[in-house]
């Protein structure tokens, strides 16, 4: 069973994607309708976004969720 206190936060490419578009955290936050702190927490790996927010992020960057977020399970094989 997945433990609620587990520290297995996903890695993500949000900071890179944001930098490629020359967006500030505040600008990205505005496009995603969340606070700047939320963007910062996701970028620094302190918070995993909800599935609806992950979908919004994917749509914004026109990418699949797994192209942005990596739970470390995809490359095993």
């Amino acid at each position: 069973m997945q433990r609620a206190f587990a520290k297995d936060i996903m890695k993500n490419r949000l900071k890179v994607l944001r930098a490629e578009r020359d967006w500030s955290q505040a600008e990205l936050a505005g496009r995603l309708d969340v606070s700047r702190q939320a963007v910062n927490a996701i970028e620094t790996g302190k918070y995993d976004p909800s599935l609806p927010l992950a979908f919004r992020i994917g749509r914004l960057f026109n990418m699949a969720i797994e192209e942005i977020f990596d739970d470390g399970e995809n490359n095993v094989g």
């Binding site: 309708d33 969340v34 606070s35 702190q37 939320a38 927490a41 302190k46 918070y47 976004p49 909800s50 927010l53």
Partner: protein, 144 residues
């Protein structure tokens, strides 16, 4: 001239539309129950107070508390509809930390008082510490 065609069967609402309608109905029922509860409580309180010779200051206090409860409830409702998910999650953690702090403090203090080690548990102190723990948890989760 072409006659009017029979209208097609009404469209079956999509699952999403039905879910939204269900949520609207659910929220409506909860809000109506809250208002009804408040009104019944107000009437019962007023009648009871009138029968016990309540003073004007006491009646004002009762009305003030009732207004506070309504304002706090409505304020919380609007707050939680406005905040983003990071803040919502921070609030959930704060609630969890607060309830655990309350449980540990109350049970621990009551047990110590029962054993004769300390004086009786002080509700104000427990409330204050619980709020402090909840606020600290919120600030940590929100701004770490």
């Amino acid at each position: 001239m072409m006659g009017k065609t029979m209208s097609a069967e009404p469209e079956t609402p999509s699952g999403e539309a039905r879910l939204k309608a269900y949520h609207r109905r659910y929220t409506g029922i909860i809000v109506r129950l809250m208002i009804a509860g408040g009104l019944i409580g107000g009437v019962v309180g007023a009648v009871t107070a009138a029968g016990e010779g309540t003073t004007l200051a006491q009646a004002a206090a009762i009305i003030g508390v009732a207004l506070f409860v309504i304002a706090a409830g409505l304020g919380s409702y609007h707050y939680f509809r406005a905040v983003d998910e990071l803040e919502l999650e921070a609030n959930k953690w704060a609630g969890l930390a607060g309830i655990n702090a309350y449980l540990l403090l109350y049970v621990g203090w009551r047990f110590l008082a029962w054993s004769g080690v300390t004086a009786n548990a002080n509700g104000d102190v427990i409330f204050g510490i619980t709020m402090l723990v909840a606020c600290a948890a919120f600030l940590y989760r929100r701004f770490r």
